[in-house]
């Protein structure tokens, strides 16, 4: 592909270092900057930077979202789309609405088939796992220093739980390099740390009072102090399996080509209420059926924000986290892949607290979707370069389906829901005119067969996990999807200005404690 690209460039722009080449190059760069990757000297990392602790070059950060490359790409894509729709409208002698409906239906169908294919692959994928006997053979002497980063904000409620969970990890205490980050203004959490008490070798890193006030910034601040050969992030409410660090160490040792290991996530409060039950259903599918499938063909994985284990050196080479991206995990996963690092999957659980109120859930999901959009914009600033870095056009398509595709799907679900409701209630002929027979069949297949299939797969994931009593809530899944659509709409709204674009709507923790007491 690189050779074809170079040959095409030569033909279009002339041989390098000729006058024609420079003229064309200059015009092209001003009109279509997304076609021209930044020169290598602009790609340097700066670990000395303070303030926002952004170590990445600015063109790789979500700090200034609407850079000129994005704007010009958006204009080009919008123009191409309008031209495409106009051509189809003229060719099929139909209305624009019908063409748009057809494109939406095709998108749904493609997305459904893609996800089904991934799930089918997941059934054959074997996660990396180790028996208790194998783990018992690991001696304390051979274990390296392992850094655990625990970013906290307003977590006084769960301080006891955090400390208990971290202390129960089966790893030599003197080889755990645990760093807790706390905001300078978060007095309650700092007092809770003191009250609960932490081991002497744990460190507390007070964050500077600078913007942005996000988790990735906190991680970047702490990253400078990291001593471990490997590192993992555990959020405030996480309870990982005791042997997770040892499993990760063995996995890193046996797979030198892998830069990062994902673990399986679960909720410990899945039974708290209806929302947590549905949330856990989604997680079961995601971590048992979907991500393993993605892993099976080495696709770029949208990592989870915690319980992901990294080689410290890999993180250092790629510039640590983007403090301005509110889904830093997803962005990190893509960037690691672009730098040639692969991910793996360890069969080890980390349990977290599921957001248990609707607003808390919506805020969390809004942040994730916002981060997905930020990740898309950042990585599509130079799409040709992205294709090159991901290795193939297919992997780039997978990225497009997984990241912006998920956002688009949720948005379309929102409008599709209302269209369906309007048709059922009114049977309006206007709506029927927009769905001629062939498009109606595609749309119905995607909606009915696709919807049913994914509800069913959710149930299979639950059944495999032994969460039998959650299966009975299967019929509420479409309502959950509607909530997801609502959160996505909210995310788009928040991107209207920089203040809201980088705002971190923190998820409330500890509600399971108050409900169980």
């Amino acid at each position: 592909m690189g050779r074809v690209f170079s040959a095409t460039k030569r033909l279009a722009f002339g041989a390098p270092h000729t006058r024609r080449f420079y003229i064309v190059h200059a015009i092209g760069q001003s009109l279509f900057p997304f076609l021209y990757p930044k020169p290598a000297q602009e790609d340097t990392l700066n670990y000395d930077r303070v303030g926002d602790h952004l170590y990445l070059p600015s063109h790789k950060s979500a700090k200034e979202l609407m850079q000129f490359e994005t704007l010009s790409l958006a204009i080009v894509l919008a123009s191409a789309f309008v031209l495409f729709v106009a051509t189809l409208t003229a060719f099929f002698s139909t209305s624009v609405l019908v063409i748009l409906t057809a494109l939406v239906s095709l998108f749904y169908l493609v997305f459904m088939l893609f996800k089904l294919w991934v799930v089918a692959r997941s059934f054959r994928y074997r996660m990396i796992d180790y028996t208790p006997e194998e783990l018992a053979h690991v001696t304390d002497e051979e274990l390296p220093v392992y850094t655990i980063l625990v970013p906290l904000r307003d977590e006084a409620e769960v301080m006891e739980q955090i400390v208990k969970a971290m202390r129960s990890i089966d790893y030599p205490e003197d080889k755990i390099d645990l760093i807790i980050t706390v905001e300078s203004f978060d007095v309650a959490t700092r007092e809770a740390i003191e009250r609960v008490g932490i081991p002497a070798n744990w460190r507390v890193c007070i964050l500077p009072d600078t913007q942005p006030k996000t988790k990735p910034k906190a991680l970047n601040v702490a990253f400078r102090e990291v001593r471990g050969e490997f590192l993992v992030i555990y959020d405030a409410e996480i309870i990982p399996d005791r042997d997770q660090l040892k499993k990760a160490y063995l996995a890193f040792r046996e797979h030198p080509e892998i830069g990062c290991f994902q673990t399986r996530l679960d909720h410990y409060n899945y039974d708290q209420n209806l929302l947590t039950k549905l949330f856990n259903t989604e997680f079961s599918f995601q971590y048992d059926l979907f991500l393993p499938g993605l892993q099976s063909f080495n696709a770029p994985i949208p990592l989870s924000g915690h319980s992901t284990h990294f080689r410290t050196e890999a993180v250092r080479r790629i510039g640590a986290w983007d403090p301005y991206n509110v889904a830093e995990d997803c962005e990190m996963g893509t960037r690691l892949y672009c730098h040639g690092y692969r991910t793996g999957f360890i069969n080890s659980y980390s349990r977290e607290e599921a957001a248990s109120t609707v607003m808390s859930w919506v805020r969390q999901r809004t942040r994730w979707m916002k981060g997905f959009i930020q990740t898309t914009i950042v990585h599509l600033r130079h799409p040709a370069q992205l294709v090159e870095q991901l290795g193939s056009i297919w992997r780039a398509l997978v990225f497009l389906l997984l990241v912006p595709g998920t956002v688009l799907l949720n948005l379309l679900n929102f409008f599709s829901f209302f269209i369906l409701l309007a048709w059922v209630m009114t049977g309006a002929e206007t709506l029927q005119d927009v769905y001629p027979m062939s498009i109606l069949y595609i749309a119905s297949t995607a909606a009915i067969a696709g919807g049913f299939t994914f509800v069913y797969l959710n149930l299979i994931a639950l059944y495999n996990r032994g969460r039998f009593h959650l299966v009975r809530y299967w019929f509420l899944t479409p309502l959950y999807w509607f909530l997801l659509a609502w959160a996505t709409l909210r995310a788009i709204w928040q991107l209207r200005d920089a203040k809201h674009a980088h705002a971190w709507e923190k998820t409330e923790h500890g509600t399971h404690l108050s409900s169980s007491s």
Binding site: F452, Y456, L459, I460, L462, Y463, F468, V471, R472
Partner: protein
């Protein structure tokens, strides 16, 4: 044979070898039936074929053409019927159904092997299954009977597999196959209930938690219930009622109301008729041996009685369903030896549906006898072999002689003497249309559509049927403006059926109206069918009288499809304007 079966090459590829062998048998049988002119003889065969074709070739192609019969066989045949030669010859059925027969043979083999741990017995059982002449016949003709029996066998296999292993995949596949069975025949509803009950019983027996039981049933039920949900939604969308399949004019209940129902409200008589039909379909030896085997096993089995009962119920569920339908009066069977002593057969094929039971029960008994007897002392082995061989031989030889009688000697007496044979005058009407048709639409009811649709070689998009909804309604109002031809039931014939008189819409609207003969002339009048052809000059005159633009009249402009909103509104407005003017003139 035992040595051959354990030979590594054979053992590793046995499923494929068996599949291939049955496909070959099916292909040869299809040729045999085709050459003897028995591939398409019954009304239902033509009907299934036409429905499958209409999914792709109709004025309104799509799911709406499936009608109110369980649609699986139509959906499966739709791609094959889109190929003209396969459609017109009826071979589209064999292309689709023979591989399904072969697949079910593989699953039957696996089922019997799983239950008996004896490959030889499994082979004999499969041979008896495949050698049944009606099983082969309904695998090469467009009917849903073999398809249903095959799905029952496959579902039973997955149930047994799940029973032993509790693997989730087996449960999911069980649900999927049962779901397909409910889309193949209404008997599938009972199959779904039996399988669901078996799952619940098994989990209760193993003292699983209520949540586990409930979730398992949900996982199974969501798939198994697909057929029922589809039928209900289809009825609601296309028939104005979810229960349209039970009570509309196309239901078995409606079509059979006027027939003599000897079994209605009588369990004993119903059983008698069903067993008589089974005798014709399975042969006396197989019926007797299977029932005896089941009875003996029920008495002697102690440890695995639950599994045996479940297997027996699954395989016998079609028999039980049809028995209930006979008692209820929504089904009817005629055999020559029972009242009304008509020499013709009707629905005798219901006796085929429990073929799975008939071949599996003797296999289980043979295996039981073999194990029990040989386990005593080593010298009992030959006795054990002999006894089990006797049981299996009766089964296989019974099937073979039945095959010989039916196929070679009797040459499918039950088929050639069926009450459901396509009427002679349908054939005449078909030939007439084939010879004289030169374009234009044909207005007719679906009930007459069958042989004509398949054999006249006219594209189905040139027919205006009830299944074309608004087009049919509009054409029915003013046929001469839309249809070049009309085919309707002959109301004047003394043997015109009660159902036709009550439900045949073209007949109801125009059968007694001489006005129709102003615009059409009779081309053919048979016992059951009247064919009319348009008189273009009269329509031209009508159009002129009503000041209608000629180009907007589909029957004159040669248009197959018209704009249902604009064209009909325009025509109706012109006609009513003229009527108002005439009325005004009269009043003055």
């Amino acid at each position: 044979m035992h040595t051959l079966l354990t030979y590594p090459f054979v053992r590793a590829r046995f499923d494929w070898l068996l599949f291939g062998a049955v496909v070959l048998i099916g292909a040869l049988f299809a040729r045999y039936v085709y050459v003897h002119g028995l591939l398409l003889v019954m009304v239902d065969q033509y009907s299934h074929l036409a429905i499958a074709r209409q999914v792709t070739d109709s004025m309104t192609p799509g799911l709406s053409q499936l009608g109110f019969w369980p649609p699986l066989v139509h959906i499966l045949m739709a791609p094959a019927t889109a190929i003209d030669v396969l459609f017109h010859t009826g071979l589209a059925a064999a292309v689709i159904l023979v591989p399904i027969l072969a697949l079910s043979a593989v699953f039957l083999f696996r089922l019997v092997e799983m239950l008996t741990h004896n490959r030889v017995i499994a082979i004999f059982s499969t041979a008896a299954y495949v050698l049944n002449p009606y099983m082969l016949y309904y695998a090469v003709t467009p009917m849903s009977d073999m398809l249903y029996v095959a799905l029952v066998v496959i579902a039973t296999y997955y149930l047994a597999h799940w029973w032993h292993t509790e693997r989730l995949l087996s449960l999911v596949l069980l649900g999927a196959v049962v779901g397909m069975a409910t889309l193949a025949r209404f008997e599938g509803f009972l199959l779904a209930a039996v399988a669901g009950g078996a799952i619940m019983y098994r989990l209760w027996q193993r003292r699983t938690s209520f949540a586990h039981l409930e979730s398992t049933v949900i996982l199974y039920g969501l798939l198994a219930g697909i057929g029922l949900v589809f039928i209900l939604i289809y009825g609601w969308v296309y028939g104005d009622s979810p229960l349209a399949f039970m009570y509309n004019e196309w239901s078995a209940y409606a079509q059979q109301r006027s027939l003599f129902l000897p079994t209605e409200h009588n369990l004993g008589v119903s059983l008698q008729y069903l067993l008589a039909a089974s005798k014709h379909m399975l042969g006396i030896p197989l019926v007797v041996v299977s029932m005896l085997s089941a009875a003996i096993l029920l008495m002697v089995l102690s440890g695995r009685r639950a599994l045996f009962s479940v297997i027996a119920l699954m395989l016998a569920s079609p028999f039980l369903f049809d028995l209930m339908a006979l008692v209820q009066g929504s089904a009817v069977i005629y055999v020559p030896e029972l009242p009304p002593f008509d020499p013709r057969f009707f629905n005798e094929r219901y006796g085929l549906y429990w073929l799975g039971f008939a071949v599996v029960m003797p296999a289980l008994l043979a295996a039981y006898v073999y194990e029990r007897v040989r386990s005593r002392e080593w010298y009992y082995e030959p006795i054990a072999l002999f006894l089990s061989a006797v049981v299996m031989s009766v089964t296989v030889i019974g099937s073979y002689t039945h095959m010989d009688e039916i196929v070679c000697i009797g040459c499918f007496d039950t088929i050639t003497n069926s009450l459901q044979l396509s009427p002679e005058d349908h054939r005449i009407a078909t030939e007439l249309l084939r010879d004289e048709y030169q374009g234009g639409q044909i207005l007719m009811t679906r009930a007459l559509h069958n042989e004509i649709a398949v054999a006249s070689r006219i594209p189905l998009r040139n027919y205006i049927l009830e299944a074309n909804y608004v087009y049919f309604d509009q054409a029915l109002a003013y046929p001469w403006l839309f249809a070049e031809w009309i085919v309707m039931q002959n109301a004047n014939h003394p043997d015109a059926s009660e159902w036709s008189i009550e439900n045949e819409l073209v007949l109801q609207m125009w059968g007694q109206d001489d006005n129709i003969l102003r615009y059409y002339y009779k081309v053919f009048e048979g016992e059951s069918v009247t064919v009319l052809r348009l008189i273009p000059e009269e329509v031209e005159y009508f159009v002129e009288q009503h000041d209608i633009e000629r180009e907007r009249v589909p029957s004159l402009a040669g248009r197959e499809v018209w704009n249902v909103r604009e064209t009909f509104a325009y025509l109706q407005e012109r006609i009513e304007a003229q009527l108002s003017a005439e009325q005004y003139a009269l009043d003055r």
